[in-house]
């Protein structure tokens, strides 16, 4: 295992809204090693995007606040950095790819200008050299007629093209960590396949990726390790094979069973009963207890911590050691 590059420790993000105060992310800890692709999965509202945004302190405040925990990038606590230091980390140390490229790119500026601005903020380049570098990157992400596309406004590009521009922007500063928040959710499957092939090919061997998604198929295709979130907490963590082949948490197991798979023999889909609880009304104890088929008394009283089921594979369930051996 290579060196840890990003370390999130006991991160808690609290939101103060009109309806009440709640933790969108609660005591979340994980580490990513150089070169690793880690998937953060969960359903809408589970806190995965808030986790991603909190790493670079991009959470709008108010309503959100990091109320506990730390994020370390190459050992340095990001919370202790000055605004200027943090700006240097953003982009060249850790960069982000967002779900909606049309919302992440400025609609008022030409693509070339946006790329050049990012390049010149972090590199000592002349305007002309930056323009040429931007063109080279658009070529690398296979945008046809790159030299001309630099003069295009984002709305003149298709969704797939815009996402390529975002990827070029995220990769061109050669960051050590890329945080990709649902980078292909807005795209068609054939374009999604292109984008993932591109990310895989473009990233340097040592670049780590945190991939946030709700799509278990995408996780399987892209990730080395997987973190499963439910109701603001990480409920299971393990390698891709552990999560998909030996899931230990009842939520992960239910999720895997209920995914509609491409099949030539359709069967009735398994479901998880009930629904995701509102963050204002989490059940006491284990937050999955009201939907869990294995629930017993203790689950309603006590929240299980992450339990090691094998080296590196953890699940927040009292029955994890038993369930991990049960067939899915």
């Amino acid at each position: 295992m290579s060196a840890t590059i990003l370390e999130v420790d006991n991160l808690t993000v609290t939101f103060d809204t009109d309806e009440g105060v709640f933790n969108a992310v609660e005591a979340v800890s994980f580490a990513i090693a150089a070169g690793e692709v880690v998937g953060l999965v969960g359903e809408s509202g589970c806190g995965k995007s808030v986790t991603a945004l909190s790493i670079l302190r991009l959470i709008p405040s108010p309503p959100g606040r990091i109320t506990a925990g730390s994020v370390r990038f190459k050992g340095a606590d990001l919370a202790a950095l000055s605004a200027a230091e943090l700006r240097r980390v953003r982009g060249s140390g850790i960069s982000m790819i967002f779900q909606e490229p049309s919302a992440a790119l400025s609609p008022l500026h030409r693509v070339g200008r946006q790329l050049v601005e990012a390049l010149r903020l972090h590199r000592d380049l002349s305007r002309r050299a930056a323009w040429e570098a931007a063109r080279d990157w658009l070529e690398k992400v296979r945008i046809p007629d790159a030299a001309e596309r630099l003069y295009a406004y984002p709305f003149q590009l298709s969704g797939g093209m815009q996402q390529r521009v975002m990827i070029a922007m995220a990769l061109m500063l050669e960051p050590e960590v890329i945080i990709a928040d649902e980078p292909t959710t807005a795209l068609d499957v054939t374009i999604q396949a292109q984008v993932f092939a591109l990310i895989r090919e473009m990233k340097q061997a040592s670049t780590a990726i945190l991939l946030i998604t709700h799509d278990m198929g995408v996780v399987w295709e892209m990730c080395d390790r997987v973190l499963v979130m439910y109701a603001a907490r990480i409920v299971e963590a393990g390698t891709r094979e552990e999560i998909f082949e030996k899931p230990a948490h009842p939520y992960t197991r239910g999720l895997l069973r209920s995914i509609p798979r491409l099949t030539d023999k359709p069967e009735r889909l398994a479901t998880i009963g009930g629904m995701v609880p509102s963050p204002l009304h989490y059940p006491a104890g284990c937050r999955f207890n009201d939907r869990c088929p294995h629930v017993f008394d203790r689950c309603r009283r006590e929240a299980p911590g992450l339990l090691e089921v094998s080296a590196g594979h953890q699940a927040a369930c009292f029955l994890a050691k038993k369930l991990v051996r049960a067939p899915l």
């Binding site: 359903e43 809408s44 298709s158 797939g160 093209m161 068609d188 499957v189 054939t190 374009i191 999604q192 396949a193 292109q194 092939a197 709700h214 799509d215 278990m216 198929g217 995408v218 996780v219 399987w220 295709e221 998909f244 082949e245 239910g254 999720l255 895997l256 209920s258 995914i259 509609p260 798979r261 491409l262 099949t263 030539d264 023999k265 359709p266 009735r268 889909l269 398994a270 479901t271 998880i272 629904m275 995701v276």
Partner: protein, 338 residues
């Protein structure tokens, strides 16, 4: 193409409930002071399909391929440019206003976004019984009818006097389903009906739709970009690309042995969790514009197997291994380009 393609009925011979014959839905593009028509967006450009009672036809394709427009045209929400739509034997364009209105009872639609398709200022009772009232079909009381409908979709009667915003996404989609079945339709167009739902809820709604299909003999046109979802609910599937159907056949066989290079690419691009596959190179390029579709086969600019003939000649329909496929790789059936 001026030749009319014969309708495509599923094997077995029962009379189709919905029948489309060379259907075209074009939207004019206008420019200038006099709004002169300078071209057409050929959203649906010559589709022939049939759906029998009680069956689910999956309609898959990527954004902009015309699948939503096709569904809307069948429901008389978009006017066709040309071609024929038959519903239960009658040509819907020849019907009188009154007959059309009566027909609307028998066809319904469920949209993707469960919230924006519910009026936020109406309570659930009003939403679910609006159609019954409109057609004078309220039985005992609206409350009793609504309670019965809500029960059908797995909701309690305490939902009656609440408003859409008080429900979760999955519950809202159940309310949409309750409204869609309120008039006992024969046919429902499901336009990305489960696409916006979380995985754990999506499965619940898919199962509900399967139950209702079995209980009432409903026919669905199940429109989705998600082949995995479609493979779990549809017995037959039609694949659309740039306004045309490129392949159609039994779902299991399409998934196992796709014939058209586009279908093959589409299936290969779906990530299947837990299955190790060799990486095939992804499809190149993007979908061309519907304003000026490429000549010959519309897929040829992206097709890994494009031949010379594909650039010139629009492929006709071929029957091959139980599928219907529009591709020069599969034998004769060429029709000269227009």
């Amino acid at each position: 193409m001026s030749t009319t393609t014969p309708p495509i009925a599923p094997e077995g011979g029962s009379a189709p409930l919905v029948e489309l014959l060379d259907l075209k839905t074009w939207f004019p593009v206008r420019r200038g002071v006099f709004a002169k028509t300078i071209g057409y967006v050929r959203a649906v450009d010559g589709v022939s399909l049939a759906i029998v009672r009680g069956e689910t036809l999956g309609l898959v394709g990527e954004s902009g391929c015309g699948k939503t427009t096709l569904g809307r045209t069948i429901l008389m929400l978009d006017p066709p440019h040309s071609g024929l739509i038959r519903f239960d034997g009658s040509d819907i364009n020849r019907l009188s206003r009154l007959e059309k209105r009566q027909l609307r009872q028998r066809m319904q639609i469920i949209f993707q976004d469960p919230l924006s398709s519910l009026n936020p200022r109406m309570n659930i009772l009003d939403i679910v019984t609006e159609g019954l009232r409109e057609f004078g079909l309220v039985t005992d009381s609206r409350e009793a009818d609504a309670t019965r409908l809500l029960r059908e979709v797995g909701l309690d009667a305490d939902a009656l006097y609440r408003y859409p915003h008080e429900f979760s996404g999955g519950q809202r989609q159940r309310i949409n389903v309750a409204r869609a079945i309120s008039l006992r339709p024969d046919f429902i167009v499901c336009d990305e009906a489960v696409s916006a739902l979380d995985v754990s809820v999506q499965a619940q709604v898919i199962n509900l739709m399967i139950d209702l299909r079995e209980k009432y003999g409903l026919a669905y046109l199940f429109i989705s970009h998600d082949l995995s979802v479609v493979s779990n609910i549809a017995g037959r599937v039609a694949v659309m690309y740039l306004g045309r159907v490129v392949e159609e056949g039994p779902t299991d066989s399409i998934i196992r042995d796709p014939l058209h290079p586009y279908t093959r690419a589409l299936i290969r691009a779906v990530p299947v969790p837990g299955v190790r596959r060799e990486k095939a190179p992804p499809l190149k390029g993007e979908t061309p514009s519907l304003l000026a579709p490429p000549p010959g086969c519309r897929f040829h600019p992206r097709c890994p197997e494009a031949m010379d003939v594909c650039r010139r000649v629009d492929p006709g329909r071929t029957r091959w291994a139980g599928h219907r496929v529009w591709c020069h790789l599969y034998g004769a059936g060429e029709t000269p380009a227009a």
